[in-house]
């Protein structure tokens, strides 16, 4: 791998590795820093907010209440001063006598009326708190006025007429239909020399002045205002400081309604302009008006709002700084980790020379050093291991070759051995058959021994040859159609005499589900089954031997042999199929045989793509089962499909 491609690969792996962790250490650290920086500010803010808010409201309420009290006093003073202003108008004896004459006579002279009106006008012009002075008689008819348009009007229907005859009176603001405005009237009875009431001197208060009193030094900021509201239809007695609100409209709000209901207090509500306000209110019984002082919540809590804003800015700034610090810190921690990760990956991908260049004198540096040390040891070990593996491979190859040569040698040798042996057996048989002349009993016995042992030797050599052939890979397996039933018949015929001789029952069972035709090597199957049957008869002295052909699951079929013989001890089951092994060394002598049969059978089963297994119980019998792949001839298959 060239340096360039390696670099590209590394880049690819690092860049592809990063987005795999959305909660990477880096973002986790940044988030933690931000959280830690914001939490204290936020919690302090939350804790303080309520207290701060309550304090602010308390402060505003206190302020409003003191304004209400101030205004109440100011109104009382204004009213008292103005009541006193009526007194000097008729203080002069001449004026007083003239007025009494004007009010008492049924047909007063116009000159008198004009003169008195002039006097009233002169007096009125000295001040601004009254817009009109007027005199009316006991019938309520206005006899003289600073406003000539009022002369001749009758005030009997006004609310102040009746009480004005009883003594000094201040009439609460009321709506005058004629002037289409609110009026506030102060009256003083006019007495004749006998002290009898002959009429009333009245002054129409200038409500603008009252409005001035209300707005004077209100100290209520931009949105705060104080105003008076009449009990009559909730009219505003003093104007709103905001435009678009008329004096002759009725307005509602919690503050107005509570004040007019005679209550004194403070509350938060939406005012007549539908603005959220904190308001203080009280009822002024002398004027029969409600006094309300209000300030919009936004302004009242402007300081709180500013504090919250500052806190938010501070918290945000802290969060940004913390995020920055967190990012740098995370980078310092994660960069060497990333590098270490890359080096680890390179190492794992086979670059055993890969080493970290981390030299920091901290935990990370230690980790890097530890990694390098480990990588060095690992490299050493791996080099050694590789050498061992090479050796082992070579040894295995040599062993395999030796084994093959051994098998070949065995195969050749068996063949070479069989030829002379067959000659021995043949001549022994000729001699035994008496073809060379009669032989004595003694010689016959000796010949029989030669013949028998030669045959045994031949069998052994045959088996060896078979085994060697299989191991040398010289066996070709046929794939031809055959009939399992045919094999069964052959085997039955072969074994029947043996069974009879040993007095054993021999049963052959064929699974009806098994197809009548199969593909395979009939000869080998027969050989394998025959081996198993020979063993079964050999190790069984009573009872029965059963040969079964069964169809099994997963495209296999089986040939099994069950006996009621001596059985196999459990410890022997694991090596029973090995070459030259019988269950115990003694059994070879008792039962005869080379001990190669089962090994050959297993080899046969395996070269046919199957295997062999055994189950056995000592003293009760054994079952050997060869399982083989079930292949149906093409024609069968077609037939079956049709």
């Amino acid at each position: 791998m060239s340096a360039a491609t390696q670099a590209v690969k590394r880049q690819a792996t690092t860049s592809s590795a990063q987005p795999r962790f959305p909660t990477s250490l880096r973002s986790t650290l940044v988030a933690t820093f931000v959280l830690l920086s914001v939490l204290p500010v936020a919690s302090a803010l939350l804790l303080e907010m309520d207290r701060f808010g309550a304090q602010a409201e308390q402060q505003v309420t206190f302020q409003l209440n003191s304004i209400i009290e101030t205004k109440e006093d100011a109104i009382a003073v204004w009213l008292e001063q103005n009541q006193e202003k009526l007194e000097p108008i008729l203080a002069d004896d001449v004026d007083s006598a003239n007025v009494v004459e004007l009010l008492s006579s049924s047909e007063p002279s116009e000159t008198l009326r004009t003169n008195i009106s002039k006097h009233l006008t002169a007096m009125r012009e000295t001040q601004d708190d009254f817009t009109e002075y007027f005199l009316y008689d006991l019938d309520g008819e206005i006899a003289a006025s600073t406003d000539s348009a009022q002369i001749g009007k009758v005030v009997t229907l006004t609310p102040y007429f009746a009480p004005s005859l009883q003594g000094e009176h201040v009439e609460a603001p009321f709506y005058e239909v004629g002037s289409a405005s609110l009026a506030m009237i102060v009256t003083r009875p006019v007495l004749d020399t006998n002290g009898e009431v002959v009429g009333v001197l009245a002054g129409r208060l200038n409500l603008d002045q009252l409005g001035g009193v209300m707005t004077q030094r209100a100290g209520l900021g931009k949105t705060g205002e104080t105003y008076l509201v009449s009990l009559e239809n909730n009219y505003f007695v003093t104007p709103s400081r905001f435009e678009g609100y008329s004096l002759t409209r009725s307005y509602q709000s919690e503050g107005i309604n509570r004040a007019l209901a005679g209550e004194t207090g403070t509350s938060s509500y939406n005012n007549y302009r539908d603005k959220p306000v904190i308001g203080a209110y009280t009822w002024l019984p002398d004027l029969e008006v409600g006094l309300v002082a209000e300030i919009e919540r936004t302004e009242a809590f402007a300081a709180l709002q500013a504090a919250i804003q500052t806190s938010i800015i501070v918290a945000t700034a802290a969060a940004v700084i913390a995020a920055g610090i967190g990012f740098i810190a995370a980078l310092r921690i994660t960069r060497p980790i990333t590098e270490l990760t890359d080096v680890t990956r390179q190492f794992s991908e086979g670059d055993l020379d890969a080493r970290t260049r981390i030299t920091r004198r901290n935990e990370i540096g230690e980790l890097g050093y530890a990694f390098n040390t480990m990588a060095g040891r690992q490299q050493e070990t791996l080099v050694k291991l590789e050498a061992s593996v090479k050796e082992a491979r070579l040894a295995t190859a040599m062993a395999r070759e030796a084994n093959r040569l051994k098998s070949e040698f065995l195969a050749t040798m068996s063949h070479e051995l069989r030829t002379p042996l067959n000659a021995i057996i043949g001549f022994a048989e000729i001699l035994l058959a008496g073809m060379t002349g009669p032989i004595s009993e003694k010689v016959e016995h000796k010949l029989s021994r030669i013949h028998l042992n030669s045959r045994r030797l031949l069998e052994l050599i045959n088996n060896l040859l078979d085994l060697a052939k299989i191991e040398a890979g010289r066996v070709d397996v046929l794939h031809e159609p055959f009939s399992p039933a045919q094999i069964a018949t052959t085997l039955q015929a072969e074994m029947e005499s043996l069974a009879e001789r040993k007095g054993l029952a021999f049963r052959v069972l064929i699974d009806p589900r098994l197809p009548p035709q199969l593909v395979g090597d009939a000869m080998r199957i027969e050989q394998a089954a025959s081996n198993l049957l020979s063993n079964a008869f050999k190790f069984t002295n009573k009872g029965e031997v059963t040969l079964r052909f069964d169809a099994e699951k997963d495209e296999t079929w089986s040939v099994s042999v069950t006996d009621t013989g001596i059985g196999i001890p459990p410890h022997a089951l694991e090596y029973i199929f090995d070459e030259f092994r019988q269950v115990d060394s003694g059994s070879q002598r008792a039962y005869g045989g080379s001990g190669l049969g089962l090994a050959i059978t297993r080899n046969l089963a395996r070269i046919m793509g199957g295997d062999i297994r055994v189950s056995s119980k000592l003293g009760e019998g054994s079952t050997f089962t060869i399982s083989l792949p079930l292949v149906v001839p093409q024609a069968e298959l077609v037939e079956a499909v049709i």
Partner: protein, 340 residues
Amino acid sequence: MNPKHKFLAIALVAATILLVTGCGGTESSEEPAPPPDEVSMQFSWINTIEFAGFYLAEAEGYYADENLNVDLLDGGFDDDGNYIDPIDVVLSGEADFGDQDAGILLEARADGAPLVAIASIYQRHPLAFISLAERNIERPEDLAGNTVDVSDNSLVVYNALLSSQDIDPDSVNSQIRTDFTIDSLVNGDIDVIDAWVTNEVVELGLGGYDINVILASDYGVEVYPNVIFTTEDMVENHPDVVERFLQATLRGTQMAIDDPENAAAETLTRNADLDIEKETESMFQALPLLNPAGSQPGMMSASSWETTQDIMLEQDLLDAPLDLDQAYTLEFLNDIYEQG
């Protein structure tokens, strides 16, 4: 980096399930209410803001609360162009209640009509004599030498005003008003017209005209313009129906006073020809008439009735003083306001 070592991810999900169990309405075990009393009210004029209290009493279910089924009859002119006089309608039995000018009601009583006033919609007469401000007609005596258009049914108050101010009727060029618009005044054809402060005055105000207003009631000329009346038979034999009707009507009136905009809107539903802006302004102008300082909605005073009778006698509209206690009663108003 081991993905297993994920950083803490705490999600607290609090699911609050509010089980709202509705409770079934409890069946009243009381006896079923008797069927509502059927009554009717004949207005003296077409549907306008003047009768807003009645409309609201109906719309808000105040009549139903009093177990009344009230038929509110529009007034004005019938198909033949004749004025529908509530006095005739009530006398004929076609309506149980009506409203009419107090002076006209006294005339009817003098003719033997068994009718009794039980309350007054307006407590001040809204009648005024108005002129453009530039004409400087500020007081009744300024009318002399000017042309004054006076409606037929304003003549009693007009004559009373002249009389009370010792103005020679011949010094004024008075004529019966036939043009009920404000055009002749604005054009300068006529110097003075009679007007209600709740009607023409509002119209001129909205038109931006500066005007002088001579309000008749300012000069002690006091006639209730629209007293609610019924028959003597109703007062004697069905006082509870009368009181319930008045109670609900006054509740409606109070509601109109409390929320003039809504009162105007409700009036518009009865008469689509009206203009919402003008009716709203009219309603505000009507507030001090409906509920003057120191009074309560519907209230009447003995002095006003006496004044009215004096005016009628002076103008020979009545031959002799009547027993006013028979002509009106405060029995129902006092009952209602004493109950609170």
